[in-house]
C-alpha cells in the first residue's frame, strides 16, 4: 500500500464528509423551527466543512507552499463568521424571531428589558406604544 493511495483515500473521505456538512446544514435549515436553531445548523459547513475541504485540497496538491494560503482562508473564515452570527442573532432576538419555550436559559432578557426601560425614559412621547407591547 503506497502512500499515494493513502493520501488519495484520506482526501476523498474529507471531501465526502465536507460535502455532507453542507447537506446537514440544508436539512437543518429546512427542519428546525426557529431562527436560533437554524443558526446552529448553518455554522457546520462554514467552519468544519470548509476545514475538511481545504485539508483535502492541500492533500491533493502535494506541495507545501499552498498550506499557508489554506490556513489564511480558514482563519479569516473563523474570524468573520462569528461577527455575522452575532449580528444576525442580535437582530433576531430583538425582533422576536425565536420560540422562548425552546430556550433552557435566557440571560439576555433582563438586559434587553433594562435597555427598553432606559429608552422609554429617554423618549417619553413613545412610552405609550412601548407599554402596550
Amino acid at each position: 500500500m503506497n502512500p499515494e493511495t493513502v493520501i488519495d483515500a484520506v482526501s476523498a473521505v474529507f471531501m465526502v464528509v465536507g460535502a455532507l456538512m453542507s447537506l446537514g446544514a440544508a436539512i437543518g435549515l429546512l427542519r428546525f423551527p426557529d431562527l436560533m436553531s437554524r443558526m446552529h445548523a448553518a455554522t457546520k459547513p462554514q467552519v468544519l466543512g470548509l476545514f475538511l475541504l481545504l485539508a483535502a485540497l492541500g492533500l491533493q496538491m502535494r506541495t507545501w507552499w499552498v498550506w499557508p494560503v489554506l490556513v489564511v482562508a480558514w482563519l479569516f473564515q473563523l474570524l468573520t463568521v462569528p461577527v455575522s452570527a452575532h449580528m444576525v442573532g442580535r437582530a433576531g432576538y430583538r425582533t422576536k424571531h425565536l420560540h422562548p419555550e425552546l430556550l433552557s436559559a435566557d440571560e439576555l432578557e433582563a438586559v434587553v428589558q433594562q435597555a427598553a426601560r432606559t429608552h422609554e425614559a429617554d423618549v417619553p412621547e413613545s412610552s405609550h406604544d412601548q407599554g402596550t407591547q
Binding site: A12, A26, M61
Partner: protein
C-alpha cells in the same frame, strides 16, 4: 476513485443548495433568508474547493480567500437594516 467522489459530492452539494434555496424562498422572515444565503455561499465555496481538489488546479484559491474575507458583510448589513427598520416603525 476521484470520479466516484466527484459524482457523490456533486449530488450532495446540489441537494444542499436546493435546500438552502427552498429556505430562501419560503423563509418566514428576512433573517431566515439572510442565513440561508450565507449557507448557500458556504456551499458555493465548498464546490470551488472540491473542483480544485478533484482536478488538481489552484485557479479559484484567491476567490476562496476573498469569499472567506468579505462574505460576512452582507449578513451584517442586513441584520443592521432589520433592527433599524423595526425601531423606526415603533417610533412612528
Amino acid at each position: 476513485m476521484m470520479q466516484i467522489v466527484l459524482t457523490v459530492t456533486a449530488v450532495v452539494l446540489s441537494l444542499a443548495a436546493a435546500g438552502a434555496i427552498v429556505r430562501i424562498a419560503r423563509g418566514p422572515s428576512l433573517l431566515d433568508r439572510v442565513l440561508a444565503a450565507d449557507v448557500l455561499l458556504a456551499i458555493f465555496g465548498a464546490a470551488l474547493c472540491i473542483d480544485m481538489a478533484a482536478n488538481r488546479h489552484l485557479n479559484n484559491l484567491m476567490l476562496l480567500v476573498a469569499i472567506s474575507l468579505i462574505g460576512f458583510v452582507g449578513s451584517v448589513t442586513f441584520a443592521r437594516f432589520v433592527a433599524d427598520r423595526r425601531e423606526s416603525v415603533r417610533e412612528s
